[in-house]
Amino acid sequence: MAGKSRKSARDKAQQEFVSEAEELLERMRDDLSALAEAHAAGRAAAPATVNQLFRSAHTLKGSAGTFGYAQLAELAHHLEDVLDRLRMGRATLDPTGITLLDESVSLATAALEKLGGAEADESLSETIALLVGRIAAYEARPVPPPEVTLAALAALAVPEGLLRALTEYEESRLRSSIAQGRGLHVIEVELELSSFEEGLGELTRAIHEVGELISTLPSPGAASDSRIRFVLLAASELGATELAARLELDPAAVRVAHRPVAAAHAESGGEGLPQQREPRAAEGEAASLRSLSGTVRVDIKKLDELMNRVGELARERAALHALVVRLTADRSTARIGLELDKIQRGLERRVQALQADVLDVRMVPLRQVFDKLTRVVRRLKLDLGKDVRLELRGAETELDKLIVEQLVDPLMHLVRNAFDHAIESAEERSRAGKRPEGLIQVEATQRGHDVALAVRDDGRGIDADAVRARAVEKGLIAADASLTKKETLELLFLPGFSTRSTVSETSGRGVGLDVVRANVAALGGLVALESTPGQGTLVSLTLPITLAIIQALLVGAADERFAIPLGGVRETLAVSPSDVQRSAGRELLNLRGEALPVLRLAEEFGLSASPRDQKQYAVVLGMGDARIALLVDRLEGQQDAVIKPVLGPLRTLRGVAGATELGTQQAVLVLDVSALIEDGGRRREARA
């Protein structure tokens, strides 16, 4: 499009700001999750995490201000205030605080997304103003006085002047350590001036493994000019001798400034053992530093362009191959042809390797989606007052970045559904002999070229009779239709079907399983649902690892060609007309004793129908237990295909998941396996 060449410096600067801010907000989300987890587990927030959050908010405020995004800057400013009080120990974390922080970060993210748009979004501005108001009210609440008085600080056995040299933050950490009953130690070390940074770094890491380093101050009195002396103030539950041993220091270098208060206090203080917490914080910090220096952020569009280039390269290679075929066919040029063929094969291997590399770059772990689910459930727990545990497994499973983004909505929808509709109230659960706390599990596993996602709940399950009654009431099926339980549950995926007549705040417009299926189908994936009344529901999604390339089966019907994602194909077989039998007005294919509903692709799509006496092929499409036989005229082999959306005013193409381009520059439609299976099942019903 035209805009690219006209990109101004202003645009570029804005893009840089957006990508920096995205990074900051992403880190803040991670830190907030850690904070909320700690709070939920009854632990106090890790100071390193709170401090990092504060720094992120501070940086965000600064750069938003620089770029003239006043509202974003204001929001960040309030965030910074809340976090500053928290890190200074002037406030403690409570659920309201977590929610406010959560909302601020979400809102800032939303505001950031809107920056690309031309005009300001007024409703967003209003929302930000409202939130800022709530934060201000929250901050105005009375705060308890510090637990540790100045007198207590003065009583510490620390070198003179040290207390005065502490920053406000360090002092607050000092007070909080004393309040929690941890011991305080003064550590004095002398290091070579030329390499003191290294030595100090090592010592800092070692201290963080067994406690917290509160302050590092240079001090006078080094033995020679080439050396420098430091006084470190550390909090730890270890005794002085033990600490010295762990830090590999002379015992004389470590002095007790304040004795730890014994075990009982540690429990009620509730911060947990530092050995469990601090190393993680330290590792996290190191990891994030590494990733900052070793990674670049790339616009996904650039990767798409790169992918297209690779595709072009592959087509050039195919042209070269055609030339090889021509050359080798003629005796006089066969030798050159063979030489060229060798080069062409080498090129093919390299193009394939390049394709694999580009695909690999697009892969991101599911973690970011899972984090969103965690936040949603946390929020729902507060809003609905239901006790539900969310278990996430397989966060490290990698998928194409685009798929991961498109997965957010369907997954949120399923989790909200489970929370809102499936999980019963605590009383209801107790009556049914279940644990009062509900459970929602989301699990991702990679299987070859697919990723399987399972969303499982231990709620009330789906009442097939109620589904059936509603389908009859809505005129979707005849009152006397004979449906298996499986087929009945399939009805839930029909557009607009909802088992609840009321639309709730939480799940929005109805249950919306049709939307989930449509979203997943657009990604070349499948959705299946199983449910046992009283025990729960399982929704399984199967998705290709990458959108960029799927394995497709090419089939021909009448004059047209279509691609079918191989993930939905169970098998293919040649069928003669006599293999298809009519029974009770519907066509069935006898597949090793099992009767499969038949769907004739040419007829289904209104193409010129193939003569009935001709030999055809059956493509057995499967999804969960549902299977149909799709009859086509030709099987044209397998191919890697890039599924793309069909752009244009026609929004829904029933039975079509997208389109792809196969070397010939001609578009080929990619069939939507779930929709076809549904149609096959319905056809059967209509004729029954």
């Binding site: 499009m1 035209a2 798409d304 297209n308 595709g311 047209e560 289904e604 799509f605 209104g606 193409l607 793309k644 959306p645 069909v646 752009l647 244009g648 005013p649 026609l650 929004r651 193409l653 029933r654 039975g655 079509v656 997208g658 389109a659 792809t660 381009e661 010939t664 520059q665 001609q666 578009a667 080929v668 439609l669």
Partner: protein
């Protein structure tokens, strides 16, 4: 006295300059229109909505789609729906010729679609004032007409065109 004359002289100059500027501004309100031929009649499309013009290429039919949708094409890695402007304007369907072109339009919301026209003829620059409201009989797709020589050119509204399908 001389200074007064100078003052008047400046006044005259300033007024002349202002008139010239006004005239320029007036003539600057030009609409640029892409003229296309459909069913033997001239139509115009606002050029700011035209993304590109491409030659006819292999169409892939879309089953179960409204007749207005001729099919989809692959255009530099994008898959685009191609719609029949002849049919949209009530002209009889004809197979494409060598002069046929696909005009790719983008809507307000950035959505795109290809429209098959019989030919692309020229780009017109028409002063806004010469765009007249269409007579009552004009189709709902026409927002204005203008006179070019002996012919009436009808200006089409892309969003209304696209909504023919979406409805």
């Amino acid at each position: 006295v001389s200074s007064q004359v100078a003052g008047e002289g400046w006044d005259v100059l300033a007024r002349a300059a202002a008139r010239a500027r006004e005239a320029r501004e007036e003539s600057a309100v030009l609409r640029e229109l892409l003229c296309v031929e459909v069913g033997g009649e001239p139509y115009a499309l606002p050029i700011e909505r035209v993304r590109e013009i491409v030659r006819m290429r292999p169409l892939t039919r879309v089953p179960r789609a409204p007749a207005l949708v001729l099919g989809v094409i692959s255009l530099r890695g994008e898959i685009l729906q191609v719609l029949d402007l002849r049919r949209a304007l009530g002209a009889a369907a004809l197979p494409p010729t060598r002069r046929s072109r696909i005009v790719v339009l983008h809507g307000e919301a950035g959505d795109v679609a290809g429209w098959l026209v019989d030919a692309v003829s020229e780009v017109l620059r028409v002063p806004e004032a010469e765009l007249l409201p269409p007579p009552g009989v004009a189709g709902e797709l026409v927002t204005a007409i203008c006179v070019r020589g002996e012919r009436f050119v009808s200006l089409l509204e892309p969003d209304r065109m696209q909504s023919l399908v979406a409805a």
